[in-house]
């Protein structure tokens, strides 16, 4: 089957609106692009002559670099705009900035923004393809896709697996996109963390909520640890980093509860010694660097698929 039949979206705004088939199709497409990275010449002409704008209103190094590399390998021309260098600091609205980019013939805009819904806002107002690279606490679809890709590569399939997502779920777009994607592909999801950051309302999304990491760890195939950002959060969510580690940190002692084939994942950047023990992050069960490499393939696939639609 060809891309024309299985993919008809100009934008990737979130996982929630995707079908299981669409998600699988992106993962399958990424398989092909992953091989490009192993060649001597790591470049294909798929987006030659296209202009991609990395529009990062919220700071990011990892995701921006990954998108830039992905676009470069697809032969697109890439421009990077950050909040500091954009006219947003001069009071220009997001809509106007995007219209200016469009007037400069941007074909694809990759948007990272602190406001939930910002990617959808742009997609409704410009003709260019909009790729959501994280909008507030809403969605971060390419992160979820690369996480699923990594799991699938290691475990063969997603369906039937039990995945724990641990940490600050309330403020996490990574968690939301992962929840949507994992459930659509038939995995079981348990969210673990302090009750303030993992409120029971999440159960309405179809996941389990637990506040006892030790009980969950022996039952899971994957444990995905999210970054804890105590310094940026309101202090009332949990008392201290020390107490967080005591209750929810993946320590060496806790890791003994894991099945030997359980994958340890982390979207990064890692707080070594906080959500995860430093040695475990580099250990045999960790697939953290696989996630980074796979992220490149996923983003190439997403840019290729959406960029192909916008061309028409």
């Amino acid at each position: 089957m060809t891309a024309d039949v299985r993919w008809n979206r100009k934008d990737l705004l979130g996982i929630r609106e995707l079908s299981a088939e669409e998600i699988t199709f992106i993962l399958d497409t990424a398989d092909a692009f992953k091989q490009v990275g192993t060649r001597d010449v790591k470049k294909v002409p798929a987006l030659r002559g296209k202009t991609l704008v990395n529009f990062f209103v919220e700071p990011s190094t990892r995701t921006r670099t990954s998108f830039e590399l992905a676009a470069t390998r697809l032969s697109a021309d890439v421009i990077n705009i950050s909040a500091a260098t954009s006219s947003l600091t001069k009071g220009e609205t997001l809509k106007d900035t995007a219209k200016i980019l469009e007037a400069n013939h941007a074909d694809i805009i990759v948007l990272r923004h602190s406001s939930a819904g910002a990617a959808q806002f742009l997609a409704e107002r410009v003709r260019a393809s909009i790729i959501n690279a994280g909008d507030g606490a809403h969605e971060h679809p390419t992160q979820a896709l690369l996480d699923l890709y990594t799991i699938r590569a290691r475990r063969g399939a997603i369906a039937g697996l039990h995945v724990a997502i641990v940490g600050d779920i309330l403020f996490s777009r990574v968690a939301r996109s992962n929840i949507f994607a994992l459930l659509k592909l038939g995995a079981r999801v348990t969210l673990v963390g302090p009750s303030t950051l993992v409120p029971r309302a999440f159960e309405q999304l179809g996941v389990s909520v637990s506040h006892r990491l030790d009980e969950v760890l022996p039952t899971v195939d994957v444990v995905n640890l999210l970054r804890i950002q105590h310094e940026r959060q309101r202090k009332e969510y949990f008392p201290s980093i020390g107490e967080y580690i005591r209750l929810f940190g993946l320590t060496k002692a806790r890791a003994k509860l894991l099945r030997p084939d359980c994958l340890i994942m982390h979207p990064g950047p890692i707080n070594r010694g906080v959500e995860i023990d430093s040695d475990l992050a580099d250990g045999v069960q960790s697939v953290i660097l696989d996630q980074v490499t796979n992220g490149l393939a996923i983003r190439m696939a997403v840019l290729y698929l959406c960029g192909g639609i916008s061309a028409r």
């Binding site: 929630r16 609205t93 997001l94 809509k95 923004h113 602190s114 406001s115 939930a116 819904g117 910002a118 959808q120 806002f121 507030g136 606490a137 809403h138 969605e139 403020f171 777009r173 939301r176 409120p199 309302a201 999440f202 309405q204 999304l205 309101r234």
Partner: protein, 422 residues
Amino acid sequence: MKTIIRNGRIIDPANRRDEIGDLIIADGVIGSKAPEAEDQVIDATGLVVAPGLIDIHVHLREPGFGWKETIESGARAAAAGGFTTIVGMPNTLPVADSPSTIAWIKDRAAEGACVNVLPTGAISKNLEGEELAPIGSLVQSGVVALTDDGHCVQNNELMRRAVEYARMVGVPVLDHCQDYNLVGNGLVHEGYWSTLLGLPGWPAAGEEAIVARNILLAELCDHQIHCQHVSTAGSVRLLREARARGVKISGEVCPHHLALTDESVQNFDTNYKMNPPLRTASHVSALLAGIADGTLDVLASDHAPHAKFEKEVEFDQAPFGILGLETELGLFLDLLVHKTKTIELPRLIEMFTVNPARLLQLQAGTLSPGASADVTLIDPDLEWTYRVGESKSLSCNTPFDGWKLKGRAVRTIVAGKTVWAL
């Protein structure tokens, strides 16, 4: 100038009157007997003849924000919605916390407003919740109530003193009930949709904590506190219990909190962003029950115009609020009288006339002989479609564009003069 409105169903809840008859207007006031010769005859066959409707919760944006709305344009929108009296909120620039600003508003209204525009004054200086505004002087300049609407005095001691002071000068206190700590940067109702969308939640308890506070203070000070735009089941429960004990506490409800739920925010459309936020169907049911049993006895719009460029931004950066004056009567008639049959038409008119008039001690809301001839003619069964493009407001921020509604005002008369007719 003598006018006779013939053969309408005259509903005047203040006088417990509901009958087919003629209404006489002579020289701008309601007359008692038919004149020997009239200058104007209005056929009201099939229409309801009601006291001019009153909306006690309107943002007119002047002074300071004339690109959103002016007193003149807001008054025209009010007339087109069937309102003859509107009460403006003080969150203008400058804030309506000084007699000079009140005088300016009254001058602007006298010059350009086609309906009665009544100002409110701030509770606290600059709406900051830190120190009392000059409440006595504001009342002497003509404010009909005190409110920090848009803001909420968090300091319970300051609020207590404000209510005590308001009792002395004889005006009620209207309160936008929002506990800042509980609500934080909340944008939408805390629940399923806030969880799904990753939007900061605005919990129902954030309103209810202040409603409870207000009940305690109304009791302590033995004075009227009116809770604005009540949106939660818990608020209704608290108000019901307190009113049953005779506490001087009341609440109003806005049409959007009945017509919509928080599900509407799922596309991040800022026309569904209001404060307090849209809530769930169970909260809507509780509001309807509160209207049915009289716990909530005032209807109001919270008309909050914002320019398109201000609303067309990221969800968290958009201002709260929507237009209301031209849709509220239609929405309430459609929802309360026709669809849910929560109340009958005379009660709806009561909630738009005599109840707000009593709350704010206004000389309005009645068809008693000698009263100012403020009259609204309503076709309660007229089916129509709201088109924001035809709005009299300067702004267009509404989620109701294109809605088909049943029932609307067809003529608005202020002091005997028709200021708007369909």
